[in-house]
């Protein structure tokens, strides 16, 4: 998955190096025409555009009165925030009255955004597999990055969780991500990388054997625990061997220059937008078909003269008009960034079809109301993916429908044959494919 060099003494060093390499590539490729077609598909000759999943969680969410529209069905009246993306009205569905049953846990609820595992925040909680990982399993090896778990720079956790409930550490630098996708190393670097991967595989092979040996000394429950190790080692071996294959294949090229960090590190919406740009490139170049992005709880004060207080502190506005006004500035700019992403995905063409049509895009928040840590009535937008959109699906605000129902509908659309996910009771009523 992560095509990072295996040996880096410190992460900062890696970033600096990749920045330099990034700059070099941009200078070398300024006149190249549009994006080169993706490699994987060429080889495998899939005729239909692949189905992709993109899920975005904005931890602190949106103020409900500004987010949810008036009226339901096709004739809903867009809210203040939805106004911003109203020009894509036919490309998305806004969903109210859904949540994950049993998922509270205040700020820890973001761990369950894509897993729906109940009981977070309680002693002994263990997470379960996330939606994206189920899809990733289906498309394993088809792209250079089977999945891309992304997060804002301050995010420690991605939205991606393994079946054993371990978080997959996020990639937080758009600059690194760009380098991973587009910057080809030298011949020597590639040879070195191959050796790293092969040594890695032989180490893993050895310790896997050691695990079978140890297993014979263990009781039943310990053996189950060691099985997790065994499986993880085998998965990693597979990943390494998959990466070996990709080392030989050229990386796609792009006209897009390497990203630069916003000058002011407090520009967190800009930073997220930068990641959205990279996501667009990743989808367009078919570098990955499963992408998640987590914008965590941020305490940063947005550099905007209308905003004086940190984002998190504003989220606890306590219905204070002044604070809500400031929070609105942030939330509006979050919506603007999402509008730009939608614009990119509707403009990008792939075999005569818009990229958005082959991408199931989920945008939402683990909080329905961050002010009082309420996890019910999550703000949810579902875009693209060939669903029949242009509507507001309004479920009961007091007796929420499980968000997992939507996840099951999404899985079906993505060609994953599963009858249930998390706390689902079926598919989401009112959501149909075109």
């Amino acid at each position: 998955m992560h095509d990072r060099p295996l040996f880096s003494t410190r992460r900062q060093a890696l970033s600096r190096r990749t920045v330099l390499r990034g700059a070099g590539a941009v200078m070398a490729l300024p006149f190249l025409d549009a994006m080169q077609p993706a490699f994987a598909r060429q080889n495998q000759g899939d005729a239909a555009p692949p189905q992709r999943l993109l899920a975005i969680n904005l931890h602190l969410g949106f103020m409900a009165h500004n987010f949810f529209p008036k009226g339901s069905g096709k004739r809903y009246k867009p809210s203040k925030y939805l106004q911003i993306i109203d020009r894509y009205r036919e490309d998305f569905t806004v969903i109210s009255g859904t949540s994950h049953p049993g998922v509270g846990g205040a700020h820890e609820s973001d761990r369950c955004f894509l897993t729906a595992a109940p009981g977070v925040g309680h002693a002994g909680f263990r997470n379960s597999v996330s939606l994206d990982q189920i899809v990733a399993k289906e498309v394993q090896g088809k792209t250079r990055f089977t999945h891309l778990p992304l997060a804002h720079r301050q995010g420690k956790l991605s939205l991606a969780w393994t079946p054993s409930g371990a978080n997959i550490p996020p990639i937080t630098s758009p600059i690194d991500l760009y380098a991973m996708m587009f910057i080809a190393g030298t011949k020597r670097q590639r040879a070195q990388r191959l050796q790293e991967l092969r040594d890695g595989r032989s180490v893993l092979d050895a310790v896997r054997h050691a695990a079978s040996d140890l297993s014979s000394e263990l009781g039943q429950s310990d053996r189950q625990k060691l099985d997790q190790y065994f499986t993880s080692v085998r998965e990693t071996e597979r990943k390494f061997s998959n990466s070996e294959g990709w080392v030989h294949r050229p990386k796609p090229t792009t006209r897009h220059a390497a990203p630069k960090r916003p000058k002011n590190p407090a520009e967190f919406v800009q930073e997220s937008a930068l990641m959205y740009d990279m996501i667009h490139l990743a989808l367009e170049s078919d570098s990955s078909r499963v992408i998640t992005y987590n914008q965590p709880n941020l305490h940063i004060v947005l550099p905007d003269n209308r905003v004086k207080v940190g984002y998190h502190a504003l989220s606890h506005h306590n219905n204070d008009a002044g604070k809500m006004k400031q929070l609105e500035v942030i939330e509006l700019s979050q919506m603007q960034a999402l509008a730009t992403l939608l614009e990119r995905l509707t403009n990008a063409n792939e075999a005569g079809r818009r990229l958005l049509d082959s991408t199931v895009l989920l945008i939402g928040s683990n909080f329905g109301n961050a002010n009082n840590h309420d996890t019910r009535n999550m703000p949810i937008i579902l875009a693209g993916g060939g669903f029949r959109h242009g509507q507001h699906l309004a479920f009961d605000g007091n007796d929420n429908t499980p968000l997992s129902n939507l996840f099951v509908s999404m899985l079906h659309r993505l060609g994953v044959d599963r009858s249930g996910f998390g706390s689902s009771t079926g598919t989401l009523t009112g959501l149909d494919a075109k």
Binding site: A13, G105, E108, G124, A211, D213, T236
Partner: protein
């Protein structure tokens, strides 16, 4: 926070209170299971089935079909709950005819035996991997390589539990990949120890060390004739020591002579370090301060003023004047000394593993020898022929491919560090079958007190089978507690026990709490850690966690607490005046801050903290989907008014009559732990109204009235065994790596009984724990 509105467990308690008994109690009901003896089934038939049977399932609970197969964990838990309800006189409810004391006793005894027997089967410590914290410490102990892995391995800590609990420690392919990459990095850094470190020894006036550009081009730092530099701004002061270039990772000593400039009051100097920011109050007469920090190549030493005007140079530029014309307070930096790495070279670890081998000339046999030395240290027990052969074979393949010996060595060491016997704490049984073996015990002991692998001495004692001899064990525990590595018990155990790791979960609102700053925050954490260490080190009673006549504070905290006579940044033990509300843990600013949301306070999280941390209560989780109370910013209602409504709802009251009182007692302490007699306004419109007075009175769950925190503490102190039991349970859970369960209850009670004879000393508790069966069992 959440308030309890519906929850089946609550309901079981509450609804039955109002339930009248049906006349006929004997017919038609089947026994819960044929496998239970009649002492159990008779009691259940007669006392429970009417409300929890075929006809009624009060609180959504039915007992007669529950089943007796206790290998099922969920069912087992339900029976434990049945036992606890009966033992706690909560069931059968007060309104029905109670069973006689004898009937009840017979039932509890029989049921208790059944449950304990069943529990012994499934309470085993689960094979667990090293936590991130332990892994980091272990790499350091093995290879003398310190790494910051916070971005490379997942954080194993979750709130309200311990990261050492094996059941919740998972592993993934991403993590295996990370282990492999980290192993390679660690081996590279270890092998680099063959070269003598490039030591740094600098003694220069600050002007020579700070950035010339910041002094002469940007004119942000003011140069003085004596070679000193004055820094005014506290926001991005750019006063890092640009010309101190660290080349070898290691511990460095940094000494700085500083003075408050243009100020008759002290100016605070801040130095960020890997273990947190350090603050020093620098008087106008000057002072030399010293810190040690672990530095990597490229790290900056960055002394800076704290609490001065943020952007002095901007202000002065606007006035079109030179920086020297600025007359505000600043920080003068004089002579700076930097020395390091302080570690001896060659390191003990390098000597042990590679001391007699010259790597460039080493043969494959040499490399295998190195790995053979590493294996038992990494596995914390002797390695087997099989394990050695597996790794040797891999090394051989590298050599056979014509690659250098060093590649083979790297491969062998990396494989060792990815090996399941390294990553997992394997605890095979002793030949007596009752206890874990001596190596496993040494390992458990070592990770309990040090979060590190056993050292040579512990390993030798394990090898000779003497470690568990009472005198030897006592001496070893004493030695370990005196060792610097015992800091891990504070940083890892105490931080999780007291939930200090959650202190930054919320940021106090600057408008409501203008007095809060990073210095205060850092002092809060320091206070609580030092307090824990003092109780442990000085053989103090765990009751001092509830209330103590002393505190460990610096000037910043003393001011915050309204204590006089403490000056300077140094922490020291001070006596607390009798009527003062501080003393113990719950009134420390750190705890009060982490149990508030940065804006206002609520008795609920604070009450929960007291119940869980100090009294060892295990409250069932609240229903997740119940919305929390939104604070009333208009100022018309206090949180107590809002909570009262909940407390009058029967379903909520069952839990909240326990949770809320300790929180009410702490209500005078605001969201940053300061003492307020009146609530602060949360909004401008509230500021126009008169402030509401804080009411810190309440009634305990047992019906005892109290007014204020001191009266409440007295109530807690009446139950010393509860506090001791709670701390014992927390320590054992952390040390053994599993939750305490039904069959551990008897020994925990016994530990508590013995604790009384030791005046409830924390240090004695540690001795008791390592001797206990619970700590010694697989």
């Amino acid at each position: 926070m959440k308030f309890c509105i519906t929850r089946s467990v609550c309901l079981t308690l509450v609804l039955l209170g109002g339930w009248a008994v049906a006349a006929d109690t004997t017919s038609k009901k089947s026994p819960p299971s044929a496998a239970f003896p009649s002492a159990v089934t008779d009691f259940i038939d007669f006392n429970c089935v009417d409300c929890h049977g075929d006809d009624f399932q009060k609180g959504n609970f039915r007992i007669d079909t529950l089943g007796a197969d206790l290998t099922d964990a969920k069912r087992f838990k339900k029976w434990v709950r049945v036992y606890d309800r009966v033992a706690g006189n909560e069931m059968p409810p007060a309104k029905v005819k109670p069973p006689s004391a004898k009937e009840k006793d017979t039932f509890l005894k029989a049921m208790g035996n059944i449950l304990a027997r069943a529990d012994r089967h499934h309470k085993q410590v689960v094979l667990r991997r090293l936590t991130r914290f332990e892994y980091t410490q272990t790499i350091q102990a093995l290879l003398s390589v310190r790494m910051d892995l916070s971005e490379r391995l997942p954080d194993d800590r979750a709130s309200r539990t311990y990261d050492t609990i094996g059941d919740t420690l998972t592993i993934s392919d991403a993590q295996v990949e990370a282990y492999y990459a980290i192993a390679n990095d660690a081996v590279s850094r270890f092998l680099a120890q063959r070269e003598a470190p490039k030591r740094l020894r600098i003694r220069q006036p600050a002007l020579k060390l700070v950035s010339k550009g910041m002094v002469y081009t940007h004119k942000i730092l003011l140069p003085l004739d004596d070679g000193g530099v004055v820094v005014f701004g506290s926001k991005n002061p750019r006063s890092w020591l640009e010309n101190v270039k660290v080349q070898t990772p290691g511990t460095y000593r940094i000494r700085i002579t500083a003075k408050a400039y243009q100020s008759d009051k002290p100016v605070t100097l801040k130095i960020p370090t890997k273990s947190g920011e350090r603050y020093f109050d620098i008087p106008p007469t000057g002072r030399t301060v010293e810190v040690t920090d672990y530095l990597y190549p490229g790290d900056r030493i960055y002394p800076q003023p704290f609490g001065t005007i943020p952007n002095a140079h901007v202000v002065i530029k606007r006035l079109n004047q030179p920086l020297s014309a600025f007359d505000g307070a600043g920080l003068y930096l004089g002579e700076v000394e930097v020395e390091g790495p302080l570690e001896t070279w060659p390191t003990r670890q390098y000597q042990t593993l590679l001391g007699d081998i010259d790597l460039p000339k080493a043969t494959l046999e040499d490399a295998k020898r190195v790995v053979d030395r590493l294996l038992p240290r990494a596995f914390r027990r002797p390695s087997s022929q099989k394990d050695r052969a597996l790794i040797h074979a891999g090394m051989q393949r590298i050599a056979d491919a014509g690659r250098p010996t060093e590649d083979a060595l790297r491969w062998g060491m990396a494989a060792t560090l990815c090996h399941p016997r390294f990553l997992y704490l394997h605890e095979p049984a002793h030949r007596d079958g009752e206890r874990i073996d001596d190596y496993a015990f040494a390992t458990r002991l070592s990770y309990f007190l040090w979060s590190s692998p056993p050292d040579e001495r512990l390993t030798t004692l394990a090898e000779s089978g003497r470690l568990r001899e009472p005198n030897v064990l006592r001496a070893e525990v004493e030695r370990m507690l005196k060792d610097a590595k015992a800091e891990a018990l504070t940083l890892n155990f105490a931080d999780q026990w007291l939930r200090l790791n959650e202190i930054d979960a919320t940021q106090p609102d600057e408008k409501i709490y203008p007095e809060f700053d990073a210095y205060l925050r850092s002092s809060m954490i320091q206070e609580t850690r030092l307090f824990f260490e003092e109780v442990l080190r000085s053989n103090r009673s765990v009751l001092e966690f509830v209330d103590s006549p002393w505190l460990i504070v610096n000037e910043r905290l003393a001011k915050h607490y309204g204590l006089v006579g403490v000056t300077g940044d140094a922490f020291r033990k001070v006596a607390i005046p009798t009527d003062h509300p501080r003393g113990g843990l719950a009134t420390q600013a750190s705890i009060l801050k982490l149990t508030a949301n940065g804006i206002n306070t609520s008795p609920v999280p604070r009450g929960l903290w007291v119940l869980e941390s100090l009294l060892g209560e295990h409250l069932p989780p609240p229903p997740d989907v119940v919305a929390a109370v939104e604070p009333d910013v208009s100022g018309a209602k206090t949180i107590r008014d809002q909570l009262d409504a909940h407390r009058h709802t029967e379903a909520c009251a069952a839990c909240h009559r326990k949770i809320d009182p300790p929180g009410f007692a702490l209500e005078n302490f605001n969201a940053i732990g300061g003492w307020d007699t009146h609530y602060r306004p949360l909004s401008p419109q509230a500021a126009r109204k008169p402030r509401r007075k804080v009411d810190a009175a309440g009634v305990t769950a047992d019906g005892i009235k109290f007014d204020g925190v001191n009266e409440f503490k007295l109530e807690l102190l009446k139950q010393p065994e509860l506090v001791y039991h709670a701390v014992a349970e927390h320590l054992l859970t952390y040390g053994v790596g599993r939750k305490m369960s039904f069959s551990d209850r008897a020994e925990l009670r016994e530990l508590t009984r013995q604790g009384k004879a030791n005046s409830y000393s924390l240090r004695e508790l540690v001795h008791q724990i390592v001797r206990s069966d619970i700590f010694n069992e697989p």
